[in-house]
């Protein structure tokens, strides 16, 4: 003979905060379940025996001994209450910084904290860094100039209308013509120079013939 509700029924018997509705339901079940009825009677006996226990007096002991052994930690509110020490702490840190000659500098890789003398960067390394920095700056300037030129040309092109474009074509034609004339002038000069050289060669040939003739005589 057993009942699957027995553990719940017995547990509920010890539950002072049981809702009245639940208590009535349990009582209804117990009235119709012999197993639960027996178990509940046993539980009442056990409860009565356990209830016979009365609290015993605590033997004498040193309640403040705990205080001597342990210190309670302060909570964060108390810690915040210590803010008035902050200026003194900052001053102390600054004084330490001065005494130990602390130097904080920034670089590409982050911050560098040095104590005592300044950080041991050699002159050669310094020059290399400067050169790298200069090259980078020049590249940036070149890019900027190119961008500026492109911008100026775009602006000029936008400002000129169609007639201006024609004028520009005429100017270009004029320059082409001038260049062709220059080329022709240059060609004629070379021709004159060549003719002159030819005459000189002929004169030299005549002179040579004359000399040869005189020698035969």
């Amino acid at each position: 003979m057993s009942c699957e509700r027995t553990s719940e029924i017995v547990a509920s018997f010890f539950d002072d905060a049981l809702a009245p509705v639940q208590r009535q339901a349990n009582e209804a079940h117990v009235s119709s379940c012999a197993h639960c009825r027996v178990q509940l009677a046993d539980a009442r006996l056990v409860q009565a025996r356990l209830a016979s226990y009365k609290e015993e007096a605590v033997p004498n002991w040193s309640r403040s001994a705990v205080l001597a052994k342990e210190k309670p930690k302060t909570n964060w509110r108390d810690w915040l209450g210590a803010w008035q020490w902050a200026p003194l702490a900052c001053s102390f840190l600054l004084a330490l910084g001065v005494v130990f000659n602390v130097e904080i500098s920034s670089s590409d890789s982050g911050f560098v904290v040095a104590f005592g003398q300044s950080s041991g960067v050699s002159q050669q390394e310094l020059d290399q860094r400067i050169q790298k920095l200069s090259a980078s700056l020049e590249r940036q300037q070149g890019d900027v100039q190119l961008q500026m030129l492109e911008t100026v040309v775009e602006n000029v092109m936008r400002q000129y209308d169609e007639n201006s474009s024609r004028n520009l074509e005429q100017v270009i034609e004029y320059f082409d013509l001038q260049r062709q004339q220059d080329l022709q002038l240059l060609q004629s000069s070379y021709q004159q120079l060549a003719d002159s050289d030819y005459e000189t060669i002929r004169s030299v040939q005549q002179l040579a013939s004359y000399v040869q003739y005189q020698g035969l005589e």
Partner: protein
């Protein structure tokens, strides 16, 4: 000022190092904690050790107490954890069963308790014996079951609270509690006529 507010004030004062505040808190709960230990350990020495451990833990962690909960609830959570720690450390004390005590007096520390009998009134002596019998009964249970009975019967915890404290489901706690009650009933009927 309500009990809760009063205890919050005592906690705040104790944190500031006011000895009176701490002693007031201890006096309020030392009886409950001592008897909690007495029923769990079955002897006065271990109960005293446990009580001192509990108040040491309370004092150390006083700054963590949040006023949302009752101080007693928070304190007994520490007491429960300390008892579990003590049970793990000391197999001879908290986990001792009646079968382990065969050959000894079935009522532990009974003689020590009634030693100054001539000086005590009869009622007080009888009460001491009744208490000792209850402690002997509880000693027959496993430590886990003993804690459940202690929290339910003597500390009036709900099954949900016990379940949360022990990391079990409420149904598991009820089942273990019922098993403990059955075992206690059998002990009452057995050779240990208490």
């Amino acid at each position: 000022m309500s009990l809760k507010e009063e205890e919050q004030q005592l906690v705040a004062d104790a944190l500031k190092g006011v000895p009176y505040a701490w002693e007031s808190l201890v006096r309020r709960y030392e009886g409950r904690v001592y008897n909690f230990g007495l029923r769990l350990t079955g002897n006065e020495t271990d109960a005293m050790d446990l009580m001192q451990e509990v108040f040491m833990g309370v004092y150390k962690n006083l700054h963590r107490f949040r006023s949302e909960s009752m101080f007693s609830t928070w304190l007994f959570r520490i007491a429960h954890n300390k008892a579990v720690d003590l049970a793990r450390k000391s197999k001879s004390g908290l986990t001792r069963s009646l079968s382990d005590m065969e050959g000894e007096d079935a009522v532990p520390d009974n003689e020590a308790m009634i030693a100054p009998a001539q000086e005590q009134p009869v009622e007080r002596l009888m009460q001491k014996q009744a208490n000792a019998q209850v402690r002997a009964l509880l000693s027959a249970l496993s430590f886990e079951s003993r804690v459940i009975v202690e929290l339910k019967v003597f500390q009036s915890y709900t099954f949900d609270d016990i379940a949360e404290l022990q990391g079990l489901s409420p149904n598991t706690v009820k089942t273990r509690f019922y098993s403990a009650i059955r075992k206690l009933k059998k002990l009452l009927e057995s050779d240990y006529e208490l």
